[in-house]
């Protein structure tokens, strides 16, 4: 405790140090006065007595300092002094300071933002108990409903039950529906329906994960033990917050979806967003209700409705190898029993062969199931590299600026050392100055990181598809970026300091700002500039490549006419229509007819898919075609005017007519050119027959027409994927989400007229989205656009930083050589000659940077090949363009100091020292 009271006394002294200093002085003065008095009394003269008294007292200044240092705060006062001095030094060269601060802030801010996003999507573990023990069957890449025999990734509910019961390696296992159900429902007694995302899960879902309810309870096995009679729901924290306003009484609330009323039994904890990254459900409902939740997937008891992901928690002590062996054993047994119940493939015995070959891998689920991770991991990785490069450039810039500044201060430091300043004291001061700069920049970076992060998220996920990923800043990452940049600042603040204090003083003093060639003395600074130029080139070429990719994609021939088309989305399942509802064809026919009759409508048609919504694929069986190739065909169900709406040309045959709408007989289909070419290579495809799936359906459809090829899901899909066939809308009863309209005139008027017409037919049919086809195309490029935007931003930032670096270095070098230049000019050198002299140095640096940058770029370009469209990473246009831009900008940055040098007045320059 002694030290504590002592510390207290020290603190008091620090607080009152001004007063204490005065008191000490008074005390000492009294002492000297008294001594003088005493000496006078002994007979000395006043002056003599005063001198004697002072001699006996000793050096008052030193004694005062020693007394004060007893308080133990000298270091602090020194630090404060240094900081003030450092701040003043920073303000003396505001340009350099601003650049260094900006480099630091952007370096730290942008890096943290990007890393946080990457962390959220790729690296973070699920917030559940011991996520490392969770494994999922298969790779969870596909989603949907399948009836393929013995799939290793999607499972039917009864199969899940059997696997859960028979395996010996999972302490608990669960399954979730591989898709979310986007539905419209009513909360409590509200009359307005609202969109909600439902995830169907087994009763064991939360228990397997080890997630407990924040409020109420989670599901138990009992909520899932019989089909259709467990209308309960667990809601997410964010939904509870948004839609229920954190109502503590949430458990007494209900949600009505379609005709079923669900009671809310629990609220999930805040950090739990589900098991799929970027797909945060609002509501979890037991799988037993799958028939009741639109769009009524059902299949609860169906062995061939494979739609679930199964995952489990390994029992303690069980290895992944043991688990894989056991699960595969169980899998084989189950499907061997199911073999007779599955539809057979094209050839007898196919299923048995499939089962023999099939293997179920176990995939770690610690980080959740992620589509966006797969989709954007390449982009994110490249962004990470880009930002790391920018961080490097920023660091190089800081290093360069500090180097230049402290080299300029060599003489000042030498003078101070000559006056007796200790080397450590000077080092400490330079360190403090670097720290002040680093901390200020770091603080700006930390402050800007959240904004950059939000900006980034908005850029990455544009359009209506807001991906709910949690990108709260990761403190560790922030500290990392902060640490990296700040230590750069410190390191490069210190290196010259150490060098400077090791000087032979006389040399430095004599040297002054004289004629020594500054260039020869800063190889480090030059190396930094060269590497900056090289890195900038890499980034610039990258952004040029991504920009060209976007342009290529936007100009690619989509096969349809994108202008003057409006797309309306409706949600029939939420409006109470059942999957086979007889009212559906009536609704479709009526909407099509009445909208077609509106003024300004050129054509209007339903379709099950329009561009960029995914696809429904399947194989077809064509007589005389090698069906083992099993080419996926994209199926689309369309109204007769669909081709007119989309502007897809009919190449051969005829379009749909009333004769195709009858329920009886062979149905007519229209195929794409690509499909005609691949599947009916010989002769005209018109009149030929084929069927879905296996041989027994071979005569089902007859080709009546051939249309031009179109892009179906994305603009960068290759021509081989354009195998598409179109089925007539009538007379089938199925949900159709898309209503497409080609119009002339004002789209806003048309849009509201069409919506009015639809609601006049069914007031309850939700129109979930209206957009133009052109918007849809642009949206589909958002990923590429973000890459291009971010890369351009960082590329230009890099060039900017490099130019600043070159400008700073050259200004500094020219400044050092003022004297020499003055001499040259006094001896008759022309300004143009001086300019050339300086520019030659810059040229060498830039050329060296580019010479290094080009091979690096070409090598690095391989990494981005998969993200480019119709473009090689060695695209000469991008390479040349980027090089030219970089060259121009850096030369301009160098020209300013060169120009200044050529304007030096010889007399001024010579007097300068």
């Amino acid at each position: 405790m002694e030290w504590l009271t002592e510390l207290w006394r020290r603190m008091t002294m620090l607080a009152h140090r001004r007063q204490l200093r005065a008191e000490l002085e008074e005390e000492m003065r009294l002492h000297i006065d008294l001594r003088q008095q005493q000496q006078q009394e002994r007979g000395l003269l006043a002056d003599e007595a005063r001198i004697r008294a002072r001699v006996r007292f000793g050096n008052m200044t030193v004694l005062k300092e020693r007394s004060q240092s007893a308080w133990g705060w000298t270091w602090l006062e020194g630090l404060v002094q240094d900081i003030v001095y450092g701040a003043r030094a920073m303000l003396r060269s505001p340009g350099i300071t601003a650049m260094a601060l900006l480099s630091l802030a952007l370096g730290i801010g942008a890096n943290t933002a990007i890393f946080s996003l990457i962390d959220a999507i790729m690296l973070r573990s699920l917030p559940v108990r011991d996520p490392g023990r969770l494994f999922i069957l298969g790779d969870a890449k596909d989603s949907g409903i399948s009836d393929e025999f013995a799939r290793n990734d999607l499972y039917a509910q009864p199969v899940y039950r059997q696997i859960r019961k028979q395996n010996q390696v999972f302490s608990e296992s669960a399954a979730i529906f591989s898709m979310t159900n986007d539905v419209y429902g009513y909360v409590g007694g509200r009359s307005e329906h609202e969109p909600m995302q439902v995830q169907l899960v087994t009763g064991t879902y939360f228990e397997t994960l080890g997630v407990r309810a924040m409020l109420g309870r989670v599901f138990s096995e009992r909520d899932d033990d019989s089909e259709g009679n467990h209308p309960v729901a667990v809601v997410s924290y964010s939904w509870w917050n948004r839609r229920l306003g954190r109502d503590p009484d949430a458990l007494s609330q209900t949600i009505r979806i379609d005709k079923t009323v669900y009671s809310i039994v629990g609220v999930a904890p805040r950090e739990f967003f589900g098991t799929k990254v970027g797909d945060a459900p609002d509501i979890w409902i037991p799988l037993s209700m799958s028939q009741a939740v639109p769009p009524h997937w059902g299949g609860y008891k169906d062995n061939t409705a494979e739609s679930l992901y199964i995952f489990g928690r390994l029992k303690p002590g069980v290895t992944i190898e043991q688990a894989t062996t056991n699960i595969n054993l169980v899998f084989q047994q189950i499907f061997l029993q199911l073999l007779p119940t599955f539809p057979e493939g094209p050839h007898a015995g196919d299923n048995a062969a499939t089962l023999r070959r099939q293997h179920v891998p176990l995939t770690p689920m610690a980080k959740g199931i992620s589509d966006i991770r797969r989709e954007s991991s390449d982009s994110l990785r490249i962004l990470m590299a880009v930002v790391a490069l920018v961080l490097l450039i920023a660091c190089a810039n800081i290093a360069n600026l500090l180097l230049a500044r402290s080299t300029a201060r060599t003489r000042e430091l030498a003078v101070r050392q000559a006056l007796g300043a200790g080397r450590l004291r000077i080092l400490r001061q330079l360190l403090t100055e670097s720290l002040v700069l680093a901390m200020a920049g770091g603080a700006m970076g930390v402050a800007s990181a959240p904004y950059l992060s939000r900006l980034l998220l908005r850029m990455v996920f544009t359009g209506p598809n807001i991906v709910p990923v949690d990108v709260s800043l990761n403190t560790g990452l922030l500290l990392f970026a902060f640490g990296v940049t700040v230590s750069t600042a410190i390191l490069f603040g210190m290196v010259p300091a150490i060098r400077a204090t090791r000087l032979r003083l006389t040399g430095a003093l004599k040297d002054g700002r004289g004629s020594s060639s500054g260039a020869a003395k800063s190889p480090l600074a030059k190396a930094l500039v060269v590497s900056q130029v090289a890195l900038s080139l890499v980034l610039l070429v990258g952004s040029a490549l991504f920009l060209r990719t976007i342009v290529n994609l936007y100009n690619v021939d989509s096969g349809f006419q994108k202008d003057n088309v409006l797309l309306f989305h409706t949600d029939e399942s939420s409006a109470g229509y059942k999957p086979d509802d007889a009212r559906l064809p009536v609704l479709h026919r009526e909407v099509q007819e009445r909208v077609n009759a509106l003024p300004g409508i050129v054509a209007a048609s339903y379709s099950s898919w329009t561009f960029g919504e995914g696809s429904w694929n399947g194989t077809v069986f064509v007589q005389g075609f090698d069906n083992d190739k099993s080419i996926d065909v994209k199926h689309n169900i369309v109204g007769k005017d669909y081709f007119a709406v989309m502007g897809i040309p009919l190449v051969a045959g005829r379009g749909f007519g009333p004769e195709d709408s009858t329920a009886s007989g062979i149905r007519g289909v229209i195929v794409s050119q690509q499909m005609a070419k691949t599947m009916f290579p010989a002769g005209s495809p018109i009149g030929r027959h084929y069927g879905l799936g296996s041989q027994k359906n071979a005569g089902e459809f007859q080709v009546i027409g051939v249309t031009g090829d179109v892009k179906f899901d994305s603009l960068d899909e290759p021509a081989e994927e354009h195998t598409i066939d179109y089925y007539p809308l009538d007379p089938g009863a199925q949900y159709l989400r898309d209503f497409d309209v080609r119009y002339s005139g004002d789209p806003d008027t048309i849009s509201s007229e069409v919506q009015k017409t639809i609601h006049a037919i069914d007031r309850n049919l939700p129109i979930t989205r209206v957009e133009t086809l052109d918007e849809r195309l642009t949206d589909s490029l958002s990923g590429q656009r973000v890459m291009a935007q971010l890369c351009s931003f960082f590329g230009l930032l890099a060039v900017f930083l490099s130019s600043i670096g070159i400008y700073g270095l050259m200004s500094y070098l020219v400044g050092r050589r003022t004297n020499e230049i003055g001499v040259r000019m006094a001896l008759g050198a022309e300004p143009a000659h001086v300019r050339r002299l300086v520019m030659r140095e810059i040229l060498v640096l830039v050329a060296a940077g580019i010479a290094i940058g080009v091979p690096v770029t070409v090598e690095g370009g391989r990494l981005v090949t998969s993200l480019l469209y119709d473009l090689k990473p060695t695209d000469p246009f991008s390479l040349f363009g980027a090089t030219a831009l970089l060259f121009a900008v850096t030369m301009l940055a160098g020209y300013l100091p060169a120009h200044r040098a050529s304007r030096v007045e010889p007399a001024v320059a010579l007097r300068c020292e």
Partner: protein, 109 residues
């Protein structure tokens, strides 16, 4: 006027002892007392009392209070604390041990 520097490390001891003897003293009085008590043999560089006193204040061995001198001037008077007294005992016994040891060395020589 041949005066000896005080042996290093004993300044605290001298100040503590002086204060123990006279109670309240200001800086000048302490210097004078030490000098007189040693019959003018021990010569303190008078100013160095003050850093020592500051350190002792921090250690809590002495407290200080402002008072008025006989000549009617403001002066800071120092006084021993309890822990100062303990410190004096410690320093005294240390000193005696060292002196004894030195004495024994000299006697055997």
């Amino acid at each position: 006027m041949n005066r000896d520097e005080i042996p290093p490390g004993t300044l605290y001891l001298l100040i503590l002892k002086t204060l123990a003897r006279f109670g309240e003293l200001h800086g000048y009085e302490i210097a004078e007392s030490i000098q007189q008590a040693s019959d003018d043999v021990l010569q303190v560089e008078e100013g160095s009392l003050y850093p020592a006193l500051q350190r002792m204040l921090i250690k809590g061995w002495v407290t200080a209070e402002w008072g008025v001198t006989a000549g009617n001037r403001r002066a800071r008077y120092y006084q021993l604390t309890a822990s100062g007294r303990k410190q004096l005992e410690r320093e005294l016994s240390d000193f005696e041990r060292v002196m004894g040891a030195i004495a024994r060395v000299i006697q055997t020589a």
